[in-house]
């Protein structure tokens, strides 16, 4: 059995310029922020980011690493509009691919199933379909003849996800109420890097239905306690509203934020984050 464990400092070496990188979680919930910081430290550029976006997308826009963002939304949940993403959009520095949420799900599922596209009604008649030349319609070959959206597969070079626990072989456990689409991200990627609050020898005694990421779709495991912070990783910790406000206010002063909280190792982040918590 190959050893999938990686140390935080080994992660940046996995990234290359121009990659398509899918990031799990949803808005400000269970985002693999420790892995996003590793991606920031790598300094690779020209990335296509695929995400139900939050601060992951915002930070990669602020660093200039994201050339294109494919998303259903980019939001901090309690702060409806992600400020760094919005700034990049207004400045015109990224290529924006606005997909309806369920279209993005279909694209990931098509890639996970090794299909060229998935048929869906999601997006029908909207600009997410009609103004995107990469998305075609298809007519049902059956008697109904319905015109449907042929959502193309979204194939990922790398997927980043964060779970509550991993075993040493790379199986992942999620304890929160919603897996979101992390399993599809993992299955749609050539390489999946999974961080976990803790890595344990075995998950055999855990409720089966919480074991939701199979090791056959996981290439690397990184142990990262608070690895989703400041986003929510329920039931362990909620979204950090005070930190989010400070982050949102860092538009225009990105370097000061980045030098403490983004372009840093996970251990450096945790020290700065603890200090922020004590001060606020």
């Amino acid at each position: 059995m190959s050893n999938k464990r990686l140390r935080d400092e080994e992660v940046p070496g996995l990234f290359r310029d121009g990659m398509t990188i899918g990031i799990g979680g949803w808005g400000s919930r269970r985002k693999p922020m420790a892995l996003v910081r590793a991606l920031i430290r790598s300094g690779v550029r020209g990335l296509t980011i695929v995400s139900f976006g939050g601060a992951d997308v915002g930070m990669l826009c602020a660093t200039g690493q994201a050339a294109r963002v494919m998303h259903g939304f980019v939001s901090l949940d309690t702060i409806a509009i992600e400020p760094h993403f919005a700034a990049a959009r207004v400045a015109g520095t990224i290529r924006n691919t606005d997909l309806d949420e369920a279209m993005l799900v279909s694209g990931l599922r098509a890639a996970a199933h090794r299909l060229p596209f998935e048929v869906t009604r999601a997006g029908l008649g909207s600009d997410a379909v009609l103004r995107n030349p990469d998305i075609k319609m298809i007519r049902s070959p059956y008697a109904d003849g319905e015109e449907l959206v042929a959502m193309p597969a979204i194939e990922l070079d790398v997927a980043l996800i964060h779970v509550d626990r991993a075993d040493e072989r790379g199986n992942g456990q999620v304890l929160g109420d919603d897996l979101f689409f992390d399993d599809y991200f993992a299955a749609a990627a050539d390489v999946t890097i999974m961080s976990a609050e803790s890595v344990v020898p075995s998950l055999s005694a855990e409720p089966l239905q919480s074991l939701v990421i199979p090791r056959l779709n996981v290439s690397h495991i990184v142990e990262a306690e608070q690895g989703a912070a400041p986003t929510a990783c329920l039931p362990s910790y909620p979204r950090d509203e005070a930190f989010q406000k400070m982050y949102a206010a860092s538009v225009g002063d990105w370097e000061a934020f980045a030098s403490r909280y983004a372009n840093v190792s996970h251990e450096e982040f945790r020290r700065a984050y603890a200090a922020f918590g004590e001060a606020s």
Partner: protein, 279 residues
């Protein structure tokens, strides 16, 4: 789909028990005193009426008044409605709109929600930054598509909704900047774009001034009713395109005394509704 906030903590056993006890708490013959009723309450009842005959579906109201209206519907004429916290759970209890649900009845992570949407068993009340005369909707971005002046929410699942099940809109400030001749980008699709869509079901637009639908010529927006104290001219002036207006425009109905009691004493005793539609 909505931007939702976490609902945590608290308990309200009484509200749950009342909700399961049944819905016949309103005497529909009993009409409230017009002078006493606020605009927010008229709006809540107009939202509630969106769910007449809805049956066993998920109601997904976005905003305070829509939440009030959907819960009012469940406590009166639509006891079979299902309600969620906008996260991963559907709930059987019907608490006040500023209190957490406490009685889970079903698991609804996003994946299950998208499956439910595809099944069509849902009526969503969405907000929007722009709506045009065909009901094309935008809350993604204002201005140029690739380089907007204002980034908003993104596509979310508006166009999954409009392709699959009943969709209504709630606009708490009826104004020309919302009701525009053409939206900058189409998130939720309107009547013409959905003309051949098998399961599209575009219903109504409820605003702080009026109730509208798409029964006008060629699927255009038409005035269904004006709220008490609002003139047809006022609605027309607040709309940035020509509305279809019949010769006789009725007034939106008032809440019954029973509905008013539910709104004021049970579902919104701390007056959250006035944050959206001031007195």
């Amino acid at each position: 789909m909505t931007l939702s906030s976490d609902v945590t903590g608290g308990s309200d056993v009484t509200a749950g028990a009342e909700a399961t006890a049944g819905a016949d708490v309103t005497d529909v013959s009993d009409v409230a005193d017009v002078l006493d009723v606020t605009r927010a309450e008229v709006c809540a009842v107009a939202i509630s009426d969106l769910f007449v005959g809805a049956g066993e579906i998920l109601a997904s109201p976005t905003g305070l008044v829509p939440q009030l209206g959907a819960r009012l519907a469940r406590l009166t004429h639509a006891p079979e409605l299902m309600l969620s916290d906008g996260e991963a759970t559907m709930f059987a209890d019907t608490p006040a709109i500023d209190e957490p649900f406490t009685e889970p009845e079903h698991y609804l992570p996003y994946r299950a929600l998208f499956d439910l949407i595809a099944r069509g068993k849902r009526h969503v009340v969405m907000g929007g930054s722009q709506l045009d005369q065909y009901g094309n909707h935008n809350f993604s971005a204002i201005g140029n598509w690739q380089r907007p002046s204002h980034q908003l929410l993104g596509a979310r699942a508006a166009a999954t909704n409009t392709a699959n099940h009943a969709v209504s809109y709630w606009i708490p400030r009826h104004a020309p900047r919302v009701f525009v001749p053409a939206v900058d980008t189409v998130c939720g699709a309107g009547s013409v774009r959905l003309a051949d869509a098998r399961f599209a079901d575009l219903r109504r637009v409820v605003t702080n001034l009026a109730v509208l639908d798409f029964s006008g010529p060629g699927g255009t927006m038409a005035l269904v009713s004006v709220h008490p104290g609002v003139s047809v001219a006022e609605v027309a002036a607040a709309t940035g395109f020509d509305l279809h207006i019949a010769d006789e425009v009725p007034t939106t109905r008032l809440p019954t005394a029973g509905e008013l009691a539910l709104i004021r004493e049970r579902l919104d005793p701390r007056d959250a509704r006035y944050r959206e539609v001031p007195r």
